[in-house]
Symmetry: C2
Subunit: 220 residues, 2 copies
């Protein structure tokens, strides 16, 4: 297992996220607008908050407790739910890019923006995930992909290994093609194409400014 | 003692800093350029990292351990040095603005940018602080101000109370006249006037963007 994170592919921004995180959801929605409206390219990558914050992982870069090595359905609701969602997400990534994004966003919305009167999805609930897959993916291919749990866990491990090596600590984190990488948390959903491009331009300017900005964080 | 932080004065940005912090030093240098070259107004305020991170202060907004209530010279080097530096800083603030800034910057530079071959200043060393005061202030007035330790501690307490109420957690933190307030950490010293203005514009745009950006933080 390599300890060196893969460099982002040429021109592609790696987007690390956890389905548990409401800020990751906003980041995914932003990236989806940039992808659809402005031709930008993002790769969907998984980072686990449960793993990152686990008491057995005091050294963020060298975890000893890995989510991908846990038994399905075990541990806290967060642990079991995020592992289940990640494995479904990895299965979706085997399909074409638009379908994989549609499923990923559908799962995020079911968790963080459920329709009025509908409870948020329980990420452990395979029946509910299956319904989202049927709405967005080739459901038969998704079902077959899910049967290869070992392969899905290996793919998840690669994401978790890369995010650990890079020092990712929260989501969404964007890893730009130029190597800059930072957590980016914003409170308001941005879906208007012009506003999305402006926000992205602002974020990347922060990361490329000659002062080498390391942190901007509101006091609360 | 009021628990409500004073709003920033009209058009004035409050700059919270700790002499211990190398990033606060960069923030002060930036603000000084903006002040001298671009007519912006900043108020020098104190925030204590020793107090903020103290084990007896788990609730950042409601400290029970206050630096301004400690015996001079007691505690760790950080504690004793920062209290000593803050009290000198408060004494300097009784003089005119340019002199107070000159002293504050001289103290920061002696700590974080000593001349080659010269050790960094020991903030507990009153003789060294006196030398800096003689180079930048009306030294007699400074000496008289230092005699009113109770008044200096009361002024320091007001800064520490306001920073606690505002949720300041690190330095430099800038509290803009519009109410936005955020920690701003950058690695490279910025002293060129155009670059300083560009950096400040970028920082304030982050805080006023419609997405309500809460955090940009590099993974390491």
């Amino acid at each position: 297992m390599t300890q060196v994170a893969q460099p982002s592919r040429s021109g592609v921004t790696d987007l690390y996220f956890d389905f548990l995180c409401p800020y990751a959801w906003r980041g995914l929605e932003l990236a989806d607008v940039l992808r659809r409206e402005h031709g930008m390219r993002f790769r969907l990558r998984h980072f686990s908050l449960v793993q990152g914050n686990h008491a057995e992982n005091p050294d963020r870069k060298h975890p000893t407790w890995w989510l991908d090595r846990q038994v399905a359905g075990q541990g806290s609701d967060y642990q079991a739910g995020s592992l289940n969602a990640f494995l479904a997400g990895q299965a979706a990534l085997q399909q074409d890019e638009d379908a994989a994004w549609a499923f990923t966003l559908a799962l995020f919305r079911a968790k963080h923006q459920p329709a009025e009167g509908v409870p948020a999805i329980d990420l452990r609930n395979d029946g509910q995930i299956r319904l989202l897959a049927e709405a967005t993916l080739d459901a038969d291919a998704f079902g077959r992909a899910l049967e290869d749990q070992e392969g899905l866990r290996a793919a998840l491990h690669e994401d978790l290994q890369d995010s650990a090596t890079l020092g990712v600590f929260g989501t969404p984190t964007f890893h730009l093609p130029d190597g800059n990488i930072a957590y980016f948390r914003f409170a308001n959903l941005v879906t208007e194409p012009g506003a999305a491009l402006d926000l992205w331009t602002l974020y990347t300017r922060v990361l490329t400014d000659g002062a080498r900005i390391e942190t901007v964080k509101r006091a609360k």
